[in-house]
């Protein structure tokens, strides 16, 4: 019999019940992260049915999607959009009613839900983690089975602490060699998505494996797993190792001495067996990956920053050809021209993909001693209050502000533009976020996904490159 993958092991350890007729399982959930946008209707449903939250102690709430990124100290008075305020107030009421721990806006522990979980030590290897947000895949960096769910499922998890789930397939992405200097996890992620496509991982959990993955920092691993969903996989996974444990040690919710040792013994069993059976395997030469950005309106429309926009006539697949034509038109780009040198008007450094300390250090290293060019507005939005505080302790805020970057308060911000941070029609943005869909950052806005270093460089040169 073949061995088990890491996903198989976590799955098996969490199955409460499997219905033989339907093949559907109830999967126990170790951590349920919630935020203001995808929960009001779930709590409403719970109330209507007279149900309780089964495990408020395994649930953690933050406000992140539509919080403003300035003047958070004003509290609700600083939230000018009445609908956003209503959502935030609804969450505040719901968590109080059900006794759920909540880091509200302005609390130093508040921030983007996928930054907060790991930072607090709530994210641990071997766990099952869900959240009404597709980028929940981020937590897979710790060897946790983590994925996004819809609001009906949020309600189901609140009521039962389980999820109705079907086993997905096992997909290995093996990255050999070492990334070149200056090539980051973001470049690797965009490269992989370009390779497998945005539907490449549909129905699967992707485990990222190999020397180049082991060499990534925890921040880099989170960036990579965060983007697994953009390759169609609900969850990304990386086996825990010493780096994982080093990152977790001493965090508020990490196991304390005594319990830690017991946990560590278990965590060390969390890896795929050598004879595990994979449904798909893709090999990537890590050393050949170049700094990579997107030119179009899908994360799979990725090219090396040294590359050219595609020529639709040269694309054989009619679906991809039509998509390329539409994307070139929307992005205001000519076919077959170098992407480098394309002028940008906005720069956004932030989001659950790239707003951690390492990302801010990378941006500051480029910004140091330089100036944001006239005509470009550049914004840095740390992922949490604690990331912001650490960056300030390291003086990164001063470096960035002296260079002309705006230094903001934490939140999802311009990644999805639910708060006031949005693009105007036709504006082009160098963005460290995760989606370049039409209108994602504002109607008519043009988004190029890239690493923090490339985004910072775009700010000081005014062009992609």
């Amino acid at each position: 019999m073949a061995g088990k993958t890491l996903y198989d092991k976590i799955w098996d350890a969490h199955v409460v019940h499997t219905d033989a007729a339907s093949g559907e399982s109830l999967l126990y959930i170790d951590l349920h992260l919630i935020h203001e946008v995808t929960t009001p209707q779930a709590f409403d449903g719970l109330k209507t049915a007279g149900r309780k939250v089964r495990r408020p102690d395994l649930t953690l709430a933050v406000a992140d999607h539509n919080t403003p990124t300035e003047k958070q100290a004003l509290g609700m008075a600083g939230v000018t959009d009445p609908e956003a305020r209503n959502q935030l107030e609804t969450l505040t009421r719901n968590v109080a009613e059900y006794g759920i721990e909540y880091f509200p806006m302005g609390d130093i522990r508040n921030g983007i839900v996928h930054v907060v979980g790991p930072e607090q030590g709530r994210t641990q290897p071997g766990m099952t983690i869900v959240c009404g947000d597709s980028h929940t895949s981020t937590h897979g960096a710790f060897g946790a089975l983590a994925h996004g769910i819809g609001t009906s499922e949020v309600e189901h998890v609140l009521a039962t602490q389980t999820l109705r789930a079907r086993k997905m397939g096992n997909f290995a992405v093996e990255v050999s060699g070492r990334l070149q200097d200056g090539v980051t996890a973001k470049d690797l992620a965009l490269h992989i998505i370009g390779l497998i496509g945005t539907a490449g991982g549909t129905g699967h959990v992707i485990e990222f494996r190999g020397e180049a993955i082991e060499a990534l920092s925890m921040e880099g691993r989170m960036t990579l797993c965060n983007l697994a969903i953009e390759g169609g996989a609900r969850a990304g996974l990386i086996a825990p190792d010493e780096k994982t444990l080093d990152y977790m040690k001493g965090r508020p919710a990490s196991p304390k001495a005594g319990a830690w040792e017991v946990a560590e013994t278990y965590w060390k069993t969390l890896n795929s067996d050598d004879d595990a059976a994979w449904d798909h395997v893709v090999h990537v030469d890590g050393g050949a990956v170049e700094p990579t950005i997107t030119w179009g309106t899908s994360p799979e429309q990725a090219i090396p920053v040294s590359g050219k926009t595609p020529v639709p006539e040269e694309i054989a697949d009619p679906v991809k050809r039509a998509a390329a034509e539409r994307a070139l038109d929307y992005m205001g780009l000519e076919p077959g021209v170098p992407i480098a040198g394309t002028p940008v008007q906005r720069v956004f450094i932030g989001s659950c993909t790239n707003s951690r300390i390492e990302d801010l250090r990378a941006a500051a290293a480029i910004a140091k001693g330089n100036k944001v060019v006239d005509g470009v507005r550049a914004m840095v939005v740390p992922g949490s209050g604690l990331v912001r505080a650490q960056a300030e302790a390291e003086g990164l805020d001063i470096v960035l502000m002296e260079a002309g970057f705006e230094w903001r308060e934490p939140g999802c911000s311009m990644c999805l533009g639910m708060n006031p941070d949005i693009l105007s029609p036709g504006e082009r943005c160098a963005s460290t976020s995760n989606r370049n869909f039409e209108g994602r950052q504002g109607r008519g806005g043009r988004t190029h996904l890239m690493s923090p270093a490339l985004a910072a460089r775009a700010a000081i040169t005014g062009v992609i490159g």
Partner: protein, 209 residues
Amino acid sequence: MKAFRTLTGTAAPLMEKGKPMSNVDTDMIIPKQFLKTTTRTGLSKGLFHELKTNADGSENPDFVLNKPQYAKASILIVGENFGCGSSREHAPWALLDQGITCVIAPSFADIFHNNCYKNGILPVRLPVDVCEQLAAQAGGANHVFTIDLESQTVTTPDGAQHHFDVDRGRKSNLLEGLDEIGASLTSADEISEFETKRRLMTPWLEPAN
């Protein structure tokens, strides 16, 4: 969830350069400015907002659901990887509010696919060439299709039938409009037993510890 058994209604093809549009993401189905609601209803105003309106806010007469013959469509025909991107359940809620309870596509993104079932919307998977054929028929003068979940068939205006596959469990849940939470809570004892075992095996996962 609401039950889905049979549906006879207008099918609207969402096209892009003569083919069913692929990779339609949930930002396109319902953009962010409509996510600030605390209810599940009234979301049709945001459905395909940037496709159905021009930049100045006026109605785009070329958008399929703006055409009088498709205004009451209950079936949508689209291309591959429909519903990719964000997990927002506002996407199926907006479709439902518009009266669309069946989407036909060659493939769906996982989370959207799941969210459809939770809301009584049937996502029908058919091969690319069949979807193209159905879209062409829906674009014709007679665009009334019948979907039958029990027999797993799509019947086109000319009487042709196409069989589709559907997961057995999802099918029976949808046919009976199962209250999934209620049904899961019948396993409450098993959940409690699991929790007892969990406290012993992985005690560090209890926040109280």
